[in-house]
Amino acid sequence: MTAHLLDIRVERKSFASATELNNTALNNVVLNNIHLQLKPRETVSLLGPSGCGKSTLLRIVAGLEKDFQGELNNHAGEVAFVFQEPRLMPWLTVEQNIGFSADKQYDKAWVAQLIDEVGLGGFAQALPKALSGGMAQRVAIARGLYSRPQVLLLDEPFSAVDAFTRMKLQDLLLQLAERHAIALLLVTHDVDEALYLSDRVLVMGNRPSSIRQELAVQLAHPRDRRDPLLAQLKALSLTELQRAHVI
């Protein structure tokens, strides 16, 4: 099993809720019997509706959520997280935000390289209030890369930007993952995004959710968004989502 960077087994994850009675506890089960593995340099998407627990699964992987039944094997060492919102510190410049995890002694050369790689040359000293949503998310991605992780976890990272910016950011993400040999685990509710980015797409249903379907996307990068195989797989996943009463 050491070939996997991450190996997560969640038997059950439920939210303890004091307001509800014990006999309705079954409704609070978010995740049920999920097994997820991530190989080096692989891109995997968790696709499902809002509230299905896919973000919770990602938080379990990140170690932000510790209260669950199951086990998490992390052979990757450094794991970084990109949130749905940029979550930049508004009082720090772009440069300081990217090196945030190292306090004031951040590696300036490495930060400068990351700024160039995410296409924000010239904005090193800008404050977050001067950035557009797409630019702020680029800074967030650069901040994720600063610790040289082997795995990057992304929680609906592009859901708040417009469709064209989203496509650009998707290509940027793939390019960066390729360059730094990073595995990506991505949560999304955008079928096209999941298929375009991933080697495998895991389709999740409503609560209590488990993985209902695994789609392998056997297409080399760079991909064409108009590729007929993507359309075919989209149809398959939509069928499964319909069967799961998501749509």
């Binding site: 990140a62 979550r87 508004p90 009082w91 404050l127 209030k129």
Partner: protein, 278 residues
């Protein structure tokens, strides 16, 4: 802002002096009303519509102020300033300590918050007799009263500032495995700074208020003493002169805090009252 599309250097150089004169224009607008009031008062008192033993003419107040400045004024100012700064420093720093404690720990909140809520509901001037009984009429009682006055706004705003911090930013620190102290230094303190400044500024203005209260009751020097001295000797010009000095000192101390706030909080993305089209 139309010059933005044409990036000729000559065009870019133009707006700077124009903006400066705009700032001065705004300041002049602010002076218009006080100047008008002074002129009207001067006129009304000079032609005798208001008796000058009740409302001295502004020019007379200015003369009194000049006379005081040659004599005892500086003694009064330095006495008052020392009391305010000392009381404010003690009250505000205690408030910051307790605000951090209550803000960061639910346990501390459970123990301390009800007591503070109870103490807060006592009108602070009600402490005066007790302070006089316990600490006498010298400096200590005045400074303690000012400290009490400054404590609550700083404490309340401090707790609120900490509790208003965006949980999502804190989570970034948790993601990096920050320790408690590092979390405070890197995220909680900077994020709470806007609220802390609000508290410090209102604490400062309350400190001045309590200074006057303390000095009106029992003092042999200070601006509050000058006020009651003016009343006892039927000199409204002295009272008005003292009020003007208090206003200037209050404005100055607030201005210092405001400029610190501006310097430390330049990152804030807030509405500044200007129209977007301008």
């Amino acid at each position: 802002m139309t010059s933005k599309s044409k990036s000729l250097p000559a065009h870019l150089a133009l707006p700077a002096p124009k903006r400066l004169s705009n700032a001065w224009k705004l300041r002049l607008k602010g002076l218009a009303l006080p100047l008008a009031i002074i002129l009207v008062l001067e006129f009304v008192v000079r032609i005798g519509w208001l008796p000058s033993y009740q409302m001295p003419a502004p020019s007379e107040v200015a003369l009194t102020l000049g006379e005081l400045a040659d004599g005892a004024l500086w003694k009064h100012i330095s006495a008052s300033l020392l009391r305010v700064l000392l009381g404010f420093a003690i009250g505000a720093s205690l408030a910051l300590v307790f605000a951090a404690w209550v803000g960061l720990s639910r346990e501390a909140e459970a123990y301390l918050e009800p007591t503070f809520a109870g103490l807060r509901s006592i009108p602070s001037l009600a402490w005066v007799p007790l302070l006089l009984l316990w600490l006498g009429i010298d400096e200590t009682s005045k400074i303690v009263l000012i400290a009490i006055g400054a404590f609550f706004p700083v404490y309340l705003n401090g707790v609120a500032a900490i509790r208003d911090i965006d949980r999502k930013l804190v989570e970034v620190g948790q993601m990096y495995g920050f320790s408690r102290t590092r979390l405070v230094r890197r995220i909680l303190l900077p994020a709470a700074l806007p609220g802390l400044f609000t508290g410090l500024r209102s604490g400062m203005s309350l400190a001045w208020m309590f200074l006057v209260a303390a000095e009106l009751i029992a003092a042999t020097k200070g601006l509050g003493y000058l006020l009651s001295d003016g009343r006892e000797t039927s000199r409204p010009d002295i009272v008005l002169a003292a009020i003007i000095v208090l206003a200037i000192l209050g404005k100055l101390s607030d201005g210092i805090l405001a400029s610190l706030e501006k310097r430390f909080l330049a990152w804030r993305d807030t509405f500044n009252g200007q129209n977007a089209g301008e």
